[in-house]
Amino acid sequence: MQDKLMIWVWKNAKKITLYSLWLILFIGSAFYFYNKLSSDDKTVLIQGKTSNGHYQIEEQCDSCHEAEDKNELGDIKQEKCLACHKEKKRSNTKANSHRAKLFEADDKTDLRKLLRADQCVTCHEEHQLGHAGTTQPADFCILCHKDIAEDRVSHKDLAFDECGDCHNYHDNSANYSESFIGEHLGEEAKTFEHSKIPPTQYTARFLKKHISEPLSWQQKELPATVDANQAKDWDGSSHALAGTNCQTCHNDKNNEWVEKPDHQSCKSCHKTQLKGFLSGKHGMRLKQKLPGMTTNNARLAMKGEHKELNCISCHKDHQFDAKEAAVASCLNCHNDQHSLAYKETKHYQLWKNKDSRGASCATCHMPKIEKGRKKNKSVLTQHNQNHNLRPSQKMVKTVCINCHGLGFSIDALQDKQLINNNFAVPPTQHIPLIEMWNSYNNDKK
């Protein structure tokens, strides 16, 4: 009996091996995919390349695909988009004249027939390569604005695929509003002696509000178990001046010592800054409760391996020197053409020599913003650098106009060569924006 079986096995050895291999492969792959599909990590399902805006958080599928059960992949719900991309609350200003909400109205059925502008996914489809996942052709503005030249003679000879050179669909307040141009006429070629935005004076403001005395080295309140040498930089730092000792940052809610406090520990004093940081490309992974962004995961050219982003990657502990964070911290990682060209520019030379006409990386990409009026006025650093990454659409009003005249700024920002060499030389082309403004005004008289 045994012999017969052995002979049969011997005769069918090839078949048996093949069938067993097939079975092992089948069970193995079924097991693999079952595991993949039921685990939290669903990256195996991602089809196509995720957009530059979302690739950092692509492993967190439910950031966009809402699902009740975490093993399911839900549909894209508009609320999910708006949870991060909050539409500006201001109504009826040029800042947000394309709010999705506006197109939901009963009296906008005619516009909805042209373009479903009430839905984010009409223009932004994910997992397709394209800037911000935009899927509309470049001249899509023509759908609704085909008669623009009748209303604005200045736009008569412009092509519809050029709208984006000056206008941003989601925020048209940033530069070319007519009243803004009007206010800055006559200062076309002017360059100011220094930026018009005052420095933040954060420490002074803090002291005024909290009535705390600057702390000496003896008042650091460091637990005896921790090596004091690590904290040397704290002595004389802005934190020491503002009455912030070791325990303010290192103690958690239960007053337990935390060796490496995370960004949440900064929140109690720097709430606005943290909110900006988490909304931008530097902090968006942390906002989704993922580990911080690292240099080797970036799509832009970066230096160094596995450098992870959090507050102290730029604001080195324990000095927390804002000057360091304004240039050196950026260039520690960023290694693209624009960043590498910075040190050759006049902006840098002046900044290095502490000349108030100088401009650091942060002056332009994380500018100072004024909030409130009169008594409540404060100047803060915009920590969401996404607001200032598109020169021609967004940076005139928030950045350039603080030092340069309007005409000069527009000419420079529209020059793509200058973006590569980091504005090392003056612009050579001329954009007739002021002339357009004049023709518009003459027409409307």
Binding site: S91, T93, A95, A105, D110
Partner: protein
């Protein structure tokens, strides 16, 4: 004793439901009229107690079309549009807006046949509201237009001086447009 109490309670409950019957007879028109009264009152109060008092009489803050950029008060018309948007968010079923044959933003021009006809009749007879029914994208609506008259100098001067205004000779007492309320009659 208990029985008496119960019937008293029942009686009062019945009495309390009586007004519900009155409300049940409410028509689209009475509803639109009531909503219009609130919208108009809110705008008038905002214009008077906030804008006029703080921007014109006491001059403590400006009112400006670009109110966000200028840290100023929104104009009464912008206030009305902002609250229309808020109402739309609540998905309460009806919508309202400001429309005109001469709007500063061409998006706010009277568009549908019912709106154009209604606006024409308001221009001929500025004291009468116009009610109509219309079907838009397969959905039936009750559309009410209430004449919007220039009551203060600020309405007139802002529209007459605005670069994008198609009409620059408004006077106090003129019809500037209408407050439009749309109530869906079908699902």
């Amino acid at each position: 004793m208990m029985k008496v109490r119960h019937s008293a309670l029942l009686g009062s409950l019945l009495a309390a439901t009586l007004p519900v019957n009155v409300w049940a007879e409410i028509t689209a028109q009475t509803m639109a009229d009531a909503i219009h009264a609130v919208i108009e009152a809110d705008r008038a109060v905002y214009a008077d107690l906030v804008v006029n008092r703080l921007a014109i009489e006491e001059e403590v803050i400006e009112a400006s079309e670009e109110y966000h950029e200028n840290s100023a008060l929104p104009l009464p018309a912008q206030m009305l549009r902002a609250s229309a948007e808020k109402v739309r968010d609540k998905k309460s079923g009806f919508s309202f807006s400001l429309v005109s044959p001469w709007p500063i933003n061409s998006q706010n021009k009277v568009k549908t046949e019912a709106e154009i006809k209604g606006m024409d009749s308001i221009l001929k007879n500025p004291t009468t509201n116009v009610y109509s029914e219309e079907t838009l994208s397969g959905k039936k609506y009750f559309t009410a237009l209430y004449p919007d008259i220039a009551v203060s100098n600020s309405c007139v001067s802002c529209h007459n001086n605005h670069k994008d205004s198609p009409k620059k000779d408004f006077k106090i007492g003129d019809v500037m447009g209408a407050i439009m309320i749309k109530i869906p009659l079908s699902k």
